[in-house]
């Protein structure tokens, strides 16, 4: 085992490139991120350059940010071993409550946003109670929630739309404002791009420092430099596109909200006790409980958090479409769940990452957007999206059954390992009553190397 796992150390040169995204060999680690890039390029060509235009990119972000926000909550729910079917209805319900508060009771918009989040928290507490403390499967609880809150939305709104005031629309339809000298670009977007680039460089080097401290198997410096260069070029180009849009448009506010949430929840799931407990409960709830984890509380908060994020997504959508309507949020749960599974989460729980889910969500978003740009009718768009979901997960499952690392596992692997063990090859079935076997798990077949090195 030792020999095999150390093998990649010996292979230098071009193979070290594999360590750019975690570690491993072959082209597999390009995985879903590679798929995303390929899809973007295909549509860029197919649409005659329409995909990567400032206008389209800006529209893409503001159009899908709320789905991606849902995916953040959904991946946590799925890691814990549950599912939430109610997010679309919860989003619609919160949207109509907030819209009505502002229109009928003249509640100021910042207060309305806070109240919207409170509504989400209450709904989440309700669902979390049934899931965590009564033990009703989340599938059922949230199926009920799906009906209840869809009905609630139509009850409050009388099945009509309720408009929202201009100022409120900022969170869904707003952009970084124009300030400073006239450079021909949006200055704040440029600034944001620079901050992100600095952060990327700093992060990569601080990750290297931590690895050195922990004695991990580190990728050579040139690999890190290539990685940085790649990310900087992508970020730089995106910054250029976002800042050079039609005057008055720039990087969407909803995109900034999304970015902050991604950073926050990546941190929470990876570095906090609560985050660890989510993985523990989803991975093996018996073991977690015997380790002193209060799994009920974990389940409760995971469900509650999901509904809060659903409310936020609902409000952003309402702000973008200038009114809350009875059909808001229809089928959102399906998009969010698809994003999470494309992003490498396991149906049985215990596995998944926030970044993976975001990449998965972006794949769906780009696909949707590109197909619409080329004029594929929406019926066929749905068929294609369905096939892509099936294919992505099937490839992942197949790879795992071959004892190969999961594509997405590599990409979304955290600096220190994280929920990586997805890639554990199937343990031979232990059938003996004596348990007297050493499942010396097919180590020879595993190409997962000695350390789970870095990446993002």
């Amino acid at each position: 085992m030792t020999q095999i796992t150390e093998a990649p150390k010996k292979s230098g040169g071009i193979r070290d490139l594999g360590k750019m995204f975690g570690s491993g060999s072959g082209a597999k680690q390009l995985g879903i991120l590679g798929a995303l890039v390929v899809i973007i390029i295909i549509f860029q060509v197919w649409t005659g350059g329409l995909t990567l235009t400032p206008g389209n990119l800006i529209a893409l972000v503001s159009q899908y940010s709320y789905i991606l926000i849902l995916a953040i909550g959904m991946v946590m729910v799925i890691i814990a071993g549950h599912i939430d079917l109610s997010v679309g209805s919860v989003a619609a319900f919160s949207g109509i409550v907030v819209a009505s508060l502002m229109q009928n009771f003249n509640v100021p918009w910042p207060v309305a946003i806070v109240l919207g989040l409170v509504v989400g928290a209450l709904i989440g507490a309700w669902q979390g109670f049934w899931v965590a403390y009564v033990g009703v499967p989340a599938f059922i609880v949230t199926l009920a929630g799906m009906l209840i809150f869809r009905g609630g939305n139509q009850f409050i709104g009388n099945a009509n739309s309720v408009a929202v005031p201009k100022e409120f629309q900022f969170i869904g339809a707003g952009y970084l404002p124009e300030i400073g000298p006239d450079t021909g670009y949006n200055n704040l977007t440029l600034l944001l791009g620079i901050v992100v680039i600095v952060a990327i460089v700093w992060r990569e080097f601080s990750a290297r420092r931590t690895q050195a401290e922990m004695g991990s198997d580190m990728a050579p410096l040139w690999v890190s430099l290539i990685k940085i260069a790649g990310l900087v070029i992508v970020t730089g180009y995106a910054t250029y596109l976002f800042s050079s849009g039609r005057v008055g448009t720039s990087f969407p506010i909803s995109g900034i909200i999304l970015g902050v949430l991604v950073l926050l929840y990546s941190f929470v799931t990876r570095n906090t006790i609560f985050g660890r407990h989510i993985y523990a409960v989803g991975g093996n709830s018996h073991a977690a409980e015997l380790s002193g984890v209060n799994s009920r509380r974990v389940n409760f908060f995971v469900m509650m958090n999901m509904s809060v994020l659903a409310s936020l997504a609902g409000m952003i959508f309402v702000a973008r479409s200038t009114a809350s309507g009875p059909q808001d949020g229809l089928n959102w749960e399906l998009d969010a769940i698809a994003a999470v599974f494309i992003g490498g989460a396991a149906v049985a729980g215990g596995v998944g990452t926030v970044t993976g889910s975001i990449i998965g969500g972006l794949v769906m978003a780009v696909l949707n957007n590109g197909l619409q740009l080329v004029g594929v009718p929406s019926d066929r768009v749905q068929i294609i999206k369905g096939l892509v979901l099936l294919a992505a997960v099937a490839i992942d499952v197949w790879n795992k059954s071959q004892g190969r690392p999961s594509i997405t596992g590599f990409l979304t692997r955290k600096r220190t390992g994280g929920a990586v063990a997805v890639e554990t090859p199937p343990v031979p079935r232990v059938q003996d009553d004596t348990n007297a076997l050493e499942p010396t798990v097919g180590a020879s077949e595993t190409n997962r190397p000695s350390s789970v090195t870095p990446n993002n």
Partner: protein, 515 residues
Amino acid sequence: MSSSPTILEMRSITKEFPGVKALSDVSLTVKAGEIHAICGENGAGKSTLMKVLSGVYPFGTYEGDIVFQGNEVRFRDIRSSEQTGIVIIHQELALIPELSITENIFLGNEPGRGGVIDWKDAKKRAIELLARVGLKDDPDSLIKNIGVGKQQLVEIAKALNKSVKLLILDEPTAALNENDSQHLLDLIRGLKSKGIASIMISHKLNEIEQVADSITIIRDGRSIETLNVKEDGVNEDRIIRGMVGRDLESRFPEHTPKIGEVFFEVRNWTVQHPLISDRLVCKDESLFVRRGEIVGIAGLMGAGRTELAMSIFGRSYGTYVSGTIIKDGKEIVLKNAGDAIDHGLAYVSEDRKVLGLNLLDDIKRSTVSAKLKKISKRDVVDEVKEYEISDAYRKSLRIKTPTVNEGVGKLSGGNQQKVVLAKWMFTDPDLLILDEPTRGIDVGAKFEIYGIIQKLADEGKGVIVISSELPELLGISDRIYTVFEGAITNDIPAAEADPETLMKSMTSAKKKVLS
């Protein structure tokens, strides 16, 4: 007796699992119309042998021959062994609780034509079959509504329906009370008079003595001897000697215990089964542990050892009825595992894959998972500390892995167990409860784990070791409690104990009155 023809012969059966030889060169001869008991310690290989016989491990996965009624047989699966007339009734009954008696008897074997079941015929035949096993219940009653004893009889009825010639019973009376057991044994004898041979695996030696015609003893995956009950004048002591009769090799590190004061006590501990409220899994049990002492708990499977340990560890099993826990002179109330950890208890479970580890996780995260607070500031886990601590355990416990970033699922059993030990050592416990700490672990790793246990005791911690292996308990413990049917039956200093006396206390209710 010796004149009756042979119905079954298993010749030099060898069965290997990756890394472990579960059976080596085992032979078994069963005569027509006899009741043949198979005895051995837990893990000796009895069930593996029966799984080979019944086709659970198909032909080709083992070495050796099986000759049934004069013909060599090669079973592909359970179905093919059943068609030949060999039916196994497992310890965990294979009945479906939500279906009726009739439906269960004919499950997979439904009478009828073209996929349409003839329920009238089925019911008629069910009534006949039930009569043969002495059951007068309505064949429409659901399995979940009849007792375990009757369920066992339904299993036998199901076997009779398959025109069984050799019936294998794996611990048939383990879950039954005295009356039901007796009824079942009578039934097996009745079947014998009708020419149906039985193989019976049981830990209850008195029952074996009562019904068996011959006994094959298996030890460490080898068939040791076959005794003829009548001719050889077999009694319980004789069987026990065969079962445990190996030398205590020097498989244990040298150790001089440094035993201090009593610091942990459990008094009158009574716990209910989690589902069956009239069944007690712990009956008024009391025990104590001194600082630096390694206390063994001996008991057969199902005696309630794990139930006792888990219920002490924050009521993690069953429903608490009564009893107190006293630590350092103060009563403590442990309502969940978190409380238990906070009060300095640690429980290394018997099943590390199901209860001990999250196999999706890596070594370093697993190591710190039972006390994340210790390396966290404001709930944010310090990953560098996590690495350093787990790496230190990797070195001190000699966990064989390149780095602690590896997934625990990839480690061998011995190394997984070391990670579990590290996980609980990290919680800095005063009392460690180790449930089968060396199960499924090779000899070398066992030796190391014994060393770790002794070192923990020398640090002044109390250690409770639960084990099915008597030599292990005798080798590692300073004092041993025996448990039988949820009650503590004896408390013996290890120096005065031997396998025979332990086995006696493990197989019968309280004989000696203890202080």
